[in-house]
Amino acid sequence: MTDPSTASAVTTAPEEFVTAAEHAEVKGNKPRSLASDAWHDLRRRPLFIVSAALILLVLLMAFWPSLFTSVDPNYAELGKSREGPSAAAWFGYDNQGYDLFSRTIYGSRASIIVGVAATLLTVLIGSTFGLLAGYYGGWLDGLMSRIADVFFGLPFVLGAIVILSSFRASGDTSATQIILLVVLSISILSWPVCMRIMRSAAIAAKQQDYVKAARALGASTSRIILRHMLPNAVAPVLVYATIALGAFIGAEATLSFLGIGLRAPVVSWGVMISDSRDVIRVAPHSLLFPAAFLTATVLAFVMLGDAVREALDPKAR
């Protein structure tokens, strides 16, 4: 039992905080911060290790596809159309006679870039606006919320068609430009959701007494927002981000299918999935493999998000 009235007595018994994560108590008495504690905690979480390994693998595939396959993803042999998996082509061939394994590997790049970049941009715009609206309130909040409402009101597909078709009308566009445009249009149409989530979390955090205490200490606005409000408001946004990542990779596929997103010669999982639509019954493997990779990647990010969220919450440790 502790005796808070005398400091020396507190160290004695080991049973003093049974509910608390005693394992968080590490030898040595160097002051630590939330970030270092979170990292320390993450490294021993199986969930984190598995998801991080998966993501690392996908990233390797995205940036050094030649490590995994030597087959050209754009070499088609019509004679092998819809052939099933074999020793020569592990995932088989699609309708056009492309090697599916090679295309799945090469397709990861566009999908990952679109998914990650669109998520980052969405979260960045949404969180910044949400934090500012939540902190300042008043007319700024009103204005930002109304702007968000306008974007929120646009149907996703219609909005993307308008943005993409009006920007790519000007002649030739390279693959990089298309990816950039897709990322931008997804982010522009999705940030209001993130802003709403961040705004309400920020308002809840702002009303806590620790913010009042920080203001009484003379803390600057940036300190209050970054040190006190953001860490306490980030959890729901993280959940949203991990779900959004999967949705965005899927959105890229939708746009490709409509003929306004990525298109050949760019390969992406979305392009592959939409290509397989017509042959699903005769060649299910052409859908199965890219879809499986997509699902596994999304799952890995969801798990990573979960692990990070828990590590950032001292109570969950």
Binding site: A7, F17, R32, A216, L217
Partner: protein, 332 residues
């Protein structure tokens, strides 16, 4: 320089009541603090008591510059707190600190205790050079009776009383001259409450602090205060030394308040003289004319509705804002 460390004169804080979605219209004002004057002497504890909605917490917020005042002055060592800006205001933060009521929400759950108590030094780096901060934090933990080894723990690993000690350590870090305590023990259990009250008493002696001690619990206030101010609906109705207020109250509200406090002694159960007030506190948006207490007062006369009683000494030796102030012993 006078002996008063803080002087407050005619302090007013009105919160506008707004309606409307897009174009907000002000329909009235919550008169949270409505003309309050008092002095805080160096090294003393001024207790401020009153029921919820009397404006005592708003008073603390205004003094801390967490809310802007509507009008009036409040000086700290002769300088007007309410007009301070920039560097001067930063300096003031080092001199006046606050301890908040709720030990559960007043500490950031995602910061270690070391970070929480060290934050004042980060905000005011001139107070302690970087290398000495960890040592200072440990000293502070020791001062408030916590184990300095617990610097890396998080708030949820502590009980309510221990958290309140952390909050006190944070307030103490910059060695302030005044600490505003806003209901510091009302969320704590009896046995823990006593520990924290003793700590506050010890710290006052050790560091020569002056306290503005805000609470609704009259027994707690009596225990710690040298002087006591009683508030009702944004006004101070009676001010005096602890003994004057508790032994010789002259305002009917003070008397009713004292008589409503249950005394932990069954022997006195039916022997005490009891004044039961009718009804609830009126809304601060539309307070009664004249004396604000008249709607619940058993002494109310016509004059109470028309003339607002000044807070002046009429009987006994201390000021009381009642036309019919009269000494009456309530506490057994």
């Amino acid at each position: 320089m006078t002996d008063n460390i803080i002087e407050v004169r005619d302090l007013v804080k009105h919160f506008p009541v707004r309606v409307g979605v897009l174009f907000k219209r002000t329909v009235g004002y919550v008169r949270a603090v409505d003309g309050v004057s008092f002095d805080l002497k160096r090294g003393e504890t001024l207790g401020v008591v009153g029921e919820s909605g009397c404006g005592k917490s708003t008073l603390a917020q205004v003094l801390m510059r967490l809310e802007p005042a509507t009008s009036g002055t409040a000086t700290f060592e002769g300088r007007d707190i309410l007009k301070m800006k920039g560097g001067e205001l930063r300096k003031l933060r080092r001199d006046i600190q606050i301890v908040l009521q709720d030990p559960y929400t007043s500490l950031n759950p995602r910061m270690t205790v070391g970070d929480i108590i060290g934050e004042p030094f980060e905000i005011h780096p001139e107070v302690a050079p970087k290398g000495s901060r960890a040592k200072k934090v440990r000293e502070l933990l020791d001062v408030v009776g916590l184990n300095p080894e617990h610097i890396n723990r998080y708030p949820h690993q502590f009980s309510g009383g221990q958290r309140q000690r952390i909050g006190i350590a944070r307030a103490l870090a910059l060695r302030p001259k005044v600490i505003v305590c806003d209901e510091p023990v009302s969320a704590l259990d009896v046995s823990i409450q006593a520990q924290v009250m003793n700590l506050l008493g010890d710290l006052q002696t050790e560091f020569g602090l002056s306290y503005v001690f805000i609470a609704h619990d009259l027994s707690v206030v009596r225990h710690l205060s040298d002087r006591v101010a009683v508030m009702y609906l944004g006004k101070m109705v009676e001010v005096g030394t602890e003994e004057e207020i508790y032994e010789h109250p002259t305002h009917p509200y003070t008397q009713a308040l004292l008589s409503a406090v249950p005394v932990p002694d069954p022997e006195l159960r039916n022997q005490r003289q009891v004044i039961r007030l009718e009804g609830d506190v009126p809304s601060p948006v539309d307070p009664p004319s004249g004396c604000r207490f008249r709607t619940r007062c058993w002494k109310a006369q016509d004059i109470c509705a028309t003339a607002e009683p000044e807070l002046v000494t009429r009987v006994a030796n201390h000021p009381s804002a009642c036309h019919f102030a009269e000494e009456k012993s309530i506490v057994p």
